[in-house]
């Protein structure tokens, strides 16, 4: 695995599949991201939370991968949330309007409780 290449681990928290993204979200991330999404949705959980806390770099191809993932999720009625984005990538999610179609929160707690309709109290 090349330096920066994306690793994507899946875990469950409170009924939400959390995908921890570590590395670069770019063209080389396609396989890892799609595999992770497949694993995350295989367990028939109703929501997926993308953890960008350790995603150092997201480029336009990475944005396209997230768009593809979001499109798949919408066809199956799976809610997608994201957390851990830096201010800069949060801005990019806003200007691309990704933020209009997926909830973006500051923390995993908020992402999970938002996705399950609970509170983060």
């Amino acid at each position: 695995m090349a330096a920066g290449e994306l690793r994507a681990a899946v875990r469950e928290r409170d009924g939400v599949a959390v995908i921890d993204l570590v590395g670069d979200v770019n063209a080389s991330a396609e396989e890892a991201l799609n595999d992770a999404y497949a694993r995350a949705t295989a367990s028939r959980l109703g929501a997926v939370a993308l953890n960008f806390e350790r995603a150092d770099y997201i480029n336009s191809t990475g944005i396209a991968l997230i768009v593809g993932l979001l499109a798949q999720a919408r066809t199956r009625g799976i809610e997608v949330t994201a957390f851990g984005l830096s201010d800069h990538y949060r801005e990019i999610f806003e200007i691309t309007r990704l933020a209009d179609f997926m909830t973006i929160t500051d923390s995993e707690q908020r992402a999970v409780s938002g996705a399950t309709g609970g509170t983060d109290a």
Binding site: A27, S60, T61, A64, A71, D87, I92, I95
Partner: protein, 544 residues
């Protein structure tokens, strides 16, 4: 003249106004800024020009004033204020009927340089208005609202046009530039531009569209765009003019054309190559004196197939050039004499160059035209000066090259490009948000160059130059894939992508444009350059 004689004359003037001749009334008004005029036929206005516009002949044509009844007066040695009832029999609209109409009129006169001048006239209708006259007043009010709407649109147009002009003169080591633009109306037909060229040279243009106002402004915008498109692709100023002429000709309205002086300055050598499309000749000031820079060529947009003579001059340290529009030399004094080329030439000979020259010319014009004179035409000046002692400056104008390197075209190599650009701009004081945006823009533009320009061919690296220019940093990313559009032309639409109507990809150009303050795409030979411009500080208008 005694106060009563002034008032008698005023009544005669008002009778003329009632008959439909507003000129004597306009002439009686002071030309100073504090004059006011208010009537039932429109909004209150302030300022001589506004007052003249508001004194409508059609509001009173064919009417008469049957009596003036003085209610009060206040007279001093230099001020007269009167309150009167004016009994009018007035026509309105298309009606031939003379309708009685009474007004309370308050008028003030002031002695200015020994002459009594009207400084305010405020009138209000008294009693019930004839129904027809009421309708006429309502129509006048509606027209006033419409005028206000048009004026608001013109103010917006003025802002838009102002944004077409360079925000600030270029910052080129060893050179000093200054510019001034002053339209005669809200918007104008003059323009000027500084166009950075891929070779490191600087394109300099001054143009003038025949006519003034909105039609001229629209043609100005069009000409500027065509010139900006042509300038980076063509090295020769004559060829640039030929190209602009060919593009403008088919769409130029009858009786309109554009004069333009376009030069290409090599900041390193001082060589200025220029072509002239019927524009007023620029002046160059050297140790020998002031002379014109002559080159022949027809104005743009008159007929296709024109050729433009190209000349060149070499500016030595201390030399300066003034480019100008005809609004200066064709300005008139009260006796209708023109300012003329010789006065402008003399001013240039006497005055220090740069902004001081511009200020001197404007000052001389003001004195020549006389106080209160209305500017007849747009006024534009551009000056350039090679600073004394400045020789052998970098050809890459803008404060020097911070980095110049190549990146092999291979997937992922944009990361290395980003790191090197970041090292180059590290000491410039960009805030963290601007740094992050520049990183994304550099990454996307480099990816585009490697993938779409060079098609990931190993023998075609991407060249990257980072330049500091006064208040900004420029990153030039050049591929070797030949001229053409950037990869993506369709604006990305997330909803369409989510619904499968657009490919998920196609965000690169969109992101580049959103991340930096300016993006310029130029082509030269087989190289296409994307220039990313980031201002070191956020602009006052809130632009990033």
């Amino acid at each position: 003249m005694k106060p009563q004689e002034v008032l008698d004359q005023y009544h005669v003037v008002m009778q003329e106004e009632a008959r439909g001749n507003p000129e004597p009334l306009k002439a009686m008004f002071s030309h100073r800024d504090d004059v006011t005029f208010a009537s039932a036929f429109g909004p209150a206005v302030r300022g001589w020009k506004q007052v003249c516009d508001a004194v409508y002949p059609d509001s009173a044509a064919g009417s008469e004033i049957t009596s003036f009844e003085r209610l009060a007066e206040y007279v001093t040695s230099d001020l007269i204020t009167i309150l009167e009832i004016e009994r009018w029999r007035t026509k309105f609209g298309d009606s031939e009927e003379l309708v009685p109409y009474h007004m309370r009129a308050t008028s003030t006169f002031r002695r200015e340089d020994g002459t009594w001048k009207l400084v305010s006239r405020h009138t209000d209708p008294i009693g019930d208005l004839h129904p027809g006259l009421e309708e006429f007043v309502r129509r006048q009010e509606a027209q006033a609202r419409e005028r206000e709407r048009i004026e608001q649109e013109m103010r917006v147009a003025q802002v838009i046009q102002h944004n077409f002009l360079p925000r600030e003169p270029p910052d080129v080591p060893g050179w000093e530039f200054a510019a001034h633009y002053q339209p005669a109306r809200e918007v104008g037909g003059d323009f000027y531009d500084f166009i950075p060229l891929p070779s490191g040279a600087l394109g300099i243009a001054v143009g003038d569209v025949t006519d003034k106002g909105v039609p001229a402004a629209m043609m100005m915008a069009s000409t500027r765009s065509v010139l900006r498109a042509a300038a980076p692709r063509l090295v020769s100023p004559g060829e640039v003019m030929e190209r602009v002429n060919e593009v403008l000709c088919p769409d130029m309205p009858p009786k309109m054309f554009v004069t333009c002086l376009y030069g290409v300055l090599n900041p390193e050598t001082g060589q200025l190559r220029f072509a002239n499309a019927g524009h007023d000749l620029p002046y160059v000031k050297t140790a020998e004196g002031v002379v014109e820079l002559r080159a022949r060529g027809m104005p743009l947009g008159l007929m296709p197939g024109m050729h433009y003579e190209e000349k060149q001059a070499t500016l030595e340290p201390g030399d300066s050039v003034l480019l100008h529009s005809d609004g200066i030399v064709e300005a008139h004094d009260p006796g209708r004499d023109m300012f003329g080329f010789s006065r402008l030439k003399e001013t240039m000979a006497d005055a220090p160059p740069g902004q001081e020259l511009i200020d001197r010319v404007l000052g001389d014009l003001e004195v020549f035209m006389g106080s209160g004179a209305v500017q007849e035409d747009d006024i534009t000046m551009v000056t350039l000066r090679r600073l004394a002692g400045a020789v052998g400056v970098s050809a890459s104008f803008g404060g020097g090259v911070l980095a110049d390197f190549e990146v092999p075209s291979a997937p992922g190599n944009e990361r290395g490009a980003i790191e090197r650009v970041m090292r180059a701009v590290g000491g410039l004081g960009l805030d963290s948000a601007r740094v992050e945006r520049l990183k994304t823009a550099v990454g996307e533009a480099t990816m585009n160059a490697m993938e779409h320009g060079n098609r990931y061919r190993a023998d075609r690296p991407v060249s990257i130059r980072v330049l500091r220019c006064g208040g900004c940093v420029r990153v030039r990313i050049t591929d070797r894939g030949g001229a053409g559009e950037l990869a993506e032309t369709e604006a990305p639409d997330l909803e369409a992508k989510l619904e499968g109507r657009q490919q998920p990809r196609g965000w690169g150009v969109f992101l580049i444009e959103k991340m930096v303050d300016e993006v310029r795409v130029t082509s030269e030979g087989d190289g296409r350059t994307v220039e990313l411009v980031v201002y070191l500080k956020e602009a006052a208008d809130g632009r990033r």
